[in-house]
């Protein structure tokens, strides 16, 4: 928890502790939320390290058991940012959808990522783990894709 821990420490804002205690689901990119917190952004790396790597593994090599988690390092499918963003938004096979509206996302266990968080992690994936794909995706571009109902 060294490098990550330090990065997280920099982000720590005490106001959040009370502001968000037991809060009902709120948009993570809610401007008021960010303003109160004084935070610029959560990085794509952080989204990857706290969510994606649980399955795709810290080195993005995937894993194989009775089934498999796809390897994202060197995955040619990442040439298409739309493919990556749509997969995160809508899920694929057993992978959960992270783009569900709040009404669905607050159901048991589901997690929702905002369009800007998805853009962050798409950009991260397409430029790490040996992947080098041109183009920076914006939240507006992610917003233009079909989201789950």
């Amino acid at each position: 928890m060294t490098a990550t821990g330090n990065r997280l420490k920099m982000l720590r804002i005490a106001a959040l502790v009370t502001a968000l205690s037991y809060a009902a689901a709120a948009r993570a990119d809610d401007p008021a939320f960010n303003a109160a917190a004084g935070i610029t952004a959560v990085t794509g790396a952080q989204v990857y390290q706290h969510i994606c790597q649980g399955c795709h593994m810290p080195d993005a090599q995937g894993a194989v058991g009775a089934g498999h988690y796809p390897k994202l390092a060197g995955d040619p499918a990442l040439v298409s940012w739309e493919y990556v963003a749509l997969t995160i938004l809508n899920g694929r096979n057993g992978m959960p959808a992270f783009g569900q509206p709040v009404s669905q996302a607050t159901e048991f266990g589901a997690v929702r990522l905002s369009d800007s968080r998805i853009a962050d992690v798409v950009n991260y994936l397409r430029n790490h783990f040996g992947n080098r794909w041109k183009g920076n995706v914006t939240a507006a571009q992610v917003a233009s894709l079909p989201h789950p109902p």
Partner: protein
């Protein structure tokens, strides 16, 4: 209220809130007690599989409870049965981890459990409600002894890191005080004629009377520090014998503090249909059921068999599998019919010629992320120091739950706690850690509730269900939309193949769902087999 209070490690939690949306505290408590829909089991008794066609065969994929109860019934009815199982053991998610067991998760990290004899963690299911009649039936038939599982413990804690200076509160205090305050307020409203529009005068008198009983109010229907209240919430000094035995009443938490704390959201956890007493657990761990089925079925189960393809034609079902002990091998199994209980995230990746509707259904159900951590301590301090015998404490910390063993009370040796039972974004975060980190985090958070953690910790194991090679997730997460669109297609027999498991039930995440779905699927396969047998 607690400006100066600082949670020891809030950064991770803040970050997770920023990353994504997660249920708030009250929703969390509800989610914890809500594994799917609280539907009553449709189990009506042993399945009737009379007149099985001579020589008919069924291939079953997966030796979890769904697959094994199907195999057990089909075999008894005269079918030729074979099971292919990925693991080297029977049970699937019905699983108990004990000292000496090795757990290798996806990604390759291996833990060796170092629990003492008779101590265990149930990484998956851990309780059986009294109305899960199919489960109770099979426990009885297989001779698996049961004991009570303590769900509600009035002396366990409700804890918020942001209320009462982070000091955990006893469940009985929160429940008694919440009920007392609400009763007093409603009494006042009744006396001030605020309910005249909705309650008749006669009913108001009865209501007034009943509120005194329900809220432990005094003669003037006030909730105060007195004997009646302390009989619910506990005493400042408990009654005893002799000269020193005179009790001192305790002082209730004020209404504002109570409401601010949000701890009321933990009161109703045990009121849910599937959490109401009496609940059971198998003596020695939930895995005893899978182990008993495994013994019963013996050589019918082929272990270490990884299914790689499922093909049906108008005569047979052919399944290709790899013997995991001889990597690269490709073997075949064939039968007239197939019952497939493979978890959907895995099944969605296996080539299989079923119709488009079943195929779409298989791909439509992601699995819930969940993590459990078992912690062994050098002594049972929760009993010795805190007087907590079984039951569950709930917290707003990421660990969500601390559960105390419902067995081995007053044992002199070590004890194992369930130190975390996590869903949602915190479960994803814990899954992304190494097993050691998960244990360390569970200790760090749990020590805020039980400071004894620091001195008494011995060792621990952590199971993240998305890292389980045989399930790739905890259980099927059906949204209402997905259920409306795909559920019937998932359950319908496709030519010679039927699916079963908790994912094919309305009792999602419960073993009862797995077993009743298997019995339902088997009955429908049987009807087809009989019809075809007569045609031939």
């Amino acid at each position: 209220m607690q400006e100066d209070f600082e949670a020891p490690s809030p950064t991770r939690r803040e970050l997770l809130r920023m990353i994504g949306i997660t249920a708030g505290g009250s929703a969390m408590y509800q989610a914890m007690s809500s594994l799917g829909l609280a539907a009553e089991s449709p189990y009506l008794g042993p399945v009737d599989l009379q007149s099985a066609p001579k020589g008919a065969s069924v291939l079953i994929l997966g030796a979890g409870l769904a697959g094994m109860c199907a195999a057990y019934e089909l075999r008894n009815a005269g079918y030729r049965v074979q099971i292919l199982e990925f693991n080297g053991r029977a049970g699937g998610r019905n699983w108990t981890v004990r000292g000496g067991d090795r757990i290798t998760e996806l990604g390759g990290l291996t833990q060796e459990c170092r629990f003492d004899k008779d101590l265990y963690l149930n990484p998956g299911p851990w309780r059986i409600p009294y109305h899960h009649r199919a489960m109770l039936h099979y426990c009885k038939r297989l001779g698996v002894p049961l004991e009570p599982f303590v769900q509600v413990n009035y002396n366990a804690y409700l804890h918020s890191s942001r209320a009462f200076g982070g000091k955990p509160q006893r469940y009985r205090e929160i429940k008694a005080d919440y009920q007392g305050h609400v009763a007093e307020l409603l009494s006042k409203a009744t006396r001030q004629s605020a309910l005249d529009a909705s309650v008749s005068k006669e009913d108001q008198e009865k209501l007034y009377e009943s509120l005194r009983e329900w809220g432990a109010l005094d003669k003037s229907n006030a909730y105060v520090a007195n004997r009646a209240g302390s009989d619910r919430r506990g005493f400042q000094k408990e009654p005893g014998g002799g000269l020193n035995g005179r009790p001192i009443a305790s002082v209730p938490i004020g209404l504002t503090d109570m409401l601010d704390s949000k701890l009321w959201s933990g009161i109703s956890a045990g009121d849910r249909f599937d959490m109401q007493p009496t609940l059971f657990q198998p003596v020695g761990g939930m895995g005893r059921i899978g182990e008993a089925f495994g013994r019963e079925l013996g050589p019918l189960i082929r272990y270490n068999a990884k299914v790689t393809e499922i093909r049906q034609d108008d005569r047979n079902v052919n399944v290709t599998y790899e013997d995991m002990s001889k990597p690269g091998t490709s073997l075949q199994a064939r039968a007239d019919w197939c019952l497939c209980t493979i978890p959907l995230p895995i099944l969605a990746q296996i080539p299989m010629n079923v119709g488009p509707t079943m195929a779409a259904a298989i791909s439509a159900v992601p699995y819930v992320s969940s993590v459990k951590v078992g912690l062994q301590f050098k002594r049972r301090f929760w009993e010795e120091d805190d007087h907590i015998y079984g039951g569950v404490s709930y917290t707003d910390l990421p660990i969500t739950v601390i559960s105390y063993p419902s067995t081995g009370f007053h044992g002199a040796g070590k004890g194992v706690l369930l130190g975390a039972y996590i869903f949602g974004i915190n479960a994803m975060d814990f899954t992304a850690m190494t097993p050691d980190e998960r244990v360390r985090k569970a200790l760090e958070y749990g020590s805020q509730i039980h400071p004894q953690y620091h001195g008494e910790f011995d060792n621990g194991v952590a199971v993240a269900w998305h890292r389980a090679p045989f399930s790739m997730g905890c259980f099927g997460l059906w949204t209402e939309d997905a259920r409306a669109k795909h559920y019937d297609d998932l359950c319908a027999v496709d030519e010679r193949i039927a699916l079963a498991g908790e994912h094919a039930s309305f009792i999602g995440g419960w073993q009862e769902g797995a077993v009743t779905s298997a019995l339902d699927a088997v009955a429908r396969l049987h009807r087809r087999a009989v019809a075809q047998g007569e045609r031939a």
